[in-house]
């Protein structure tokens, strides 16, 4: 069993300190990218969740005018949001919604 005892006295002879900056930078970029994707998906889901019901209401409205209650709620949600990207996405979605609702002939 001498060989086994000798083996237990072996250690790693390499260090990863030299590549720490490179590896951690790549890891940080991956984490940011992942976060950005998650935010994009949340924004897309929020836009769909708000626009689809609004679109249905507008299409059913005889005057094809945006419902002021909806408009007020949309503005309120938008102003309360802290996430800048999501806020911009919602504002764009609401603007498109208002435009399509106020344009004659647009379903």
């Amino acid at each position: 069993m001498t060989v086994e005892m000798d083996l237990h006295s072996l250690r790693w002879g390499v260090s990863a300190d030299g590549v720490q900056a490179r590896v951690m930078e790549a890891a940080r970029r991956a984490a940011i990218e992942k976060k950005r994707w998650r935010r994009t998906w949340i924004a897309a889901a929020a836009i769909l969740a708000i626009c689809l019901p609004m679109n249905m209401v507008i299409n059913q409205s005889p005057s094809a005018r945006p419902d002021p209650v909806f408009e007020q709620a949309a503005d309120e949600i938008s102003s309360r949001l802290e996430d800048r990207d999501l806020k911009v996405s919602l504002q764009v979605a609401f603007s498109v919604q208002r435009l399509s609702a106020s344009t004659p002939g647009v379903p």
């Binding site: 060989v3 083996l7 006295s9 072996l10 002879g13 490179r22 590896v23």
Partner: protein, 150 residues
């Protein structure tokens, strides 16, 4: 556990292990980077990371090791003898003998004696049964003794 701490505690050991698989420092560094990129993008619970990290490191190293280096590293370029220890066998001879083992036996020795993994953990890392892991280690010791016999 945050990524910086994880790197400080594990990176050198993982790099050493990856180098024994790739036999190339640059490939092992790339594999280490790939591993940390995946860790950063995932939400794995790493409160007891040992087996998980070695298994993930093994997968990354094996994926990259298909590109074989022209001049593979020797064990003595990856593993060093403990300076305070006394050896029955001359360390260069021991490391040279380690180089002559089949890859899976050398891996069993390295993970069991250098990393102190149990046979159960060794089996989990290498994806084999407990008996196979223990047998690989036993065969490796027999072969080392045979190589080192005067």
């Amino acid at each position: 556990m945050d990524l910086e701490t994880l790197y400080r505690d594990w990176a050198s050991r993982l790099l050493g292990y990856m180098m024994t698989i790739t036999r190339d420092r640059h490939l092992a560094e790339d594999a280490l980077q790939n591993l940390f990129v995946k860790l950063a993008a995932s939400r794995v619970d790493l409160r007891s990371p040992g087996v998980y990290l070695f298994r993930a490191a093994r997968n990354e190293a094996l994926t990259l090791s298909k590109k074989r280096p022209a001049q593979p590293l020797r064990a003595d370029e990856i593993i060093a003898p403990d300076a305070s220890a006394t050896f029955e066998v001359d360390p260069p001879r021991l490391l040279s003998a380690l180089d002559q083992l089949p890859a899976e036996q050398a891996e069993a020795v390295i993970l069991h004696v250098i990393e102190n993994l149990t046979f159960k953990e060794l089996a989990e890392v290498t994806g084999c049964s407990l008996d196979t892991a223990a047998s690989r280690y036993r065969y490796a010791l027999e072969k080392l003794q045979e190589i080192l016999r005067p």
